[in-house]
Symmetry: C2
């Protein structure tokens, strides 16, 4: 591997925009838009925890960006810039890093975001990355987890559980004949720039599993979520696997779909606003202790562990 | 160790300010001051790389903040907020984390910064942390590495090399009878809020070693630094160790003092602006290839490895 400063010059300076000051200084300098609020988030990805050692490096980079883009999507924000930290091992091959940077470049172009800073270190442990993502939003229009109201319908975008099935497939625990689950695990699609601000009361992205993230909405909004678990949309590939995989789909993370709380009579408008991404109604909020109650008949039992937590 | 969400509620929510939205959402929401530019930086600290496994956790936390505060100091910015990532092992004891959070609280109060977001993960590897720090600055007054001019004198704040001697002492390689080197390694003093914007042309903080960071100024300003190495100020404890420790002091990182380039006739005003922190003139910039040339007589030779790089 080439030295630290050459590495930055070769792979990261080409990704950097004006506020980065060419990545030559101790920090970036940004002139924020005075008419907008800023939305800022940070997320990490560690080898063996958030990605597998043999995952393609360009897809690791793109998922790293997309996890953060999804956080901005959940707040209703438009992404602008990011800072990147890398912890690489001394034996990380340069082509690995080149492919990682290529992945960043691809998604920078796709999502119109630019690198403005970062930090690089050697590590004796697992490869580790973090992205701090900065976006902007019309003041007063931020989507919160706490905004759900009694009577709101609960919607999800897309299909749920494919990324968890991708992880199961990578471990040899379920088939993935078309490679669809693998793609959903490695390259989630953040649901950015949906014009839903005026239609929904609350939003969250599904990073830790539908049940867990829905529970966050319950807690922050102080409501019970009445969930029709069997209505949670499955992809055609997931449907093939049958009902045994329902709970793993609902507790598995990494979908990066959105859960939305909205008045039921907004459904048609919301469907139109999200198109071509499908939305599915999976339940509703009602007064009660902050928890999930299942509507399914025949009844289903929730597992003890409803989603991903870091111990 | 308690669970992830309880951990956040117990140790991090008390540190969080309004833009964090109580750490309950996917991102923070900030209304930037329209009259100021933003300065943003990110830095990591890994166990075994940036700190030792038995360093006190409150001091690890404070150094983590201070490394970032020092980057803002080098740009001339005033810090405001930060985001924190933690990668803890499942066997990290809760008292360790409590003491870590206590360190954050102490330096939040001291430097008037607040937590606005973060991310938490489990790791099978070394403990790892990062801070993204956000500050503000009067538009147009940012200090750059590229601003040094031919004829500028080179100054440093404080004394140089004590943190490197602290690392040597921790390894048993040099004595530290008063514990001064240990304190300098564990608890650097970022040189924040010095009213030097109108007096200096360029600045950088010493994180990777004086020689390396001075070389960054040379490269960005396209000048030769003529350095009187023996004039680089030593603390009384460092002076006791004798001349054999000069080069380790100049190549060792973690001082977080500032190197400043300023016209020689600004020296008195600069001294007054930095007081009570002493400054010392150690050389000057002149036209030439971007490198360091030593002025010392009898002559000294620079080592091949002039500072800390991450492989």
């Amino acid at each position: 591997m080439i030295g630290e400063f050459d590495r930055i010059a070769r792979y990261f300076v080409p990704l950097a925009a004006a506020p980065s000051l060419g990545l030559n200084d101790d920090a970036a300098c940004l002139r924020p838009d005075p008419a907008r609020d800023q939305i800022i988030t940070v997320d990490q990805m560690l080898e063996g925890v958030h990605f597998l050692a043999d995952d393609p490096p360009d897809l690791i980079a793109r998922k790293l960006l997309r996890r953060n883009l999804s956080d901005l999507a959940a707040m209703g924000a438009t992404p602008l810039h990011y800072l990147l930290t890398t912890a690489l091992r001394a034996d990380t091959p340069e082509p690995w890093l080149a492919q990682f940077a290529q992945g960043l470049a691809e998604d920078q172009a796709r999502y119109h975001v630019t690198l403005i800073g970062g930090d690089s270190t050697a590590t004796p442990g697992p490869l580790a990355f973090s992205v701090t993502m900065i976006g902007t939003i019309q003041p007063g229009s931020v989507l919160r987890r706490s905004g759900a109201q009694s009577g709101d319908a609960i919607f999800v975008t897309g299909t749920i559980g494919d990324a968890a099935l991708g992880l199961a497939a990578a471990r040899g625990d379920c088939p993935d004949p078309t490679g669809f689950f693998r793609t959903r695990r490695l390259l989630p699609e953040p649901r950015l720039n949906l014009p839903i601000h005026a239609l929904v009361h609350a939003a969250i992205d599904i990073s830790d599993g539908l049940l867990q993230d829905l529970t966050h909405l319950c807690r922050q909004s102080n409501l019970t979520a009445h969930l029709h678990a069997r209505a949670v949309p499955a992809s055609p590939d997931a449907s093939q696997l049958g009902p045994d995989w329902l709970m793993p789909r609902l507790t598995g993370g990494d979908d990066y779909e959105l859960i939305l709380a909205a008045p039921p009579d907004h459904e048609a408008a919301l469907r139109q606003a999200c198109a071509p991404i499908p939305i599915t109604r999976i339940g509703h909020f009602a007064p009660g202790t902050p928890r999930i109650a299942l509507l399914d008949d025949p009844p289903l039992t929730l597992p003890d562990r409803i989603g991903w937590t870091h111990f």
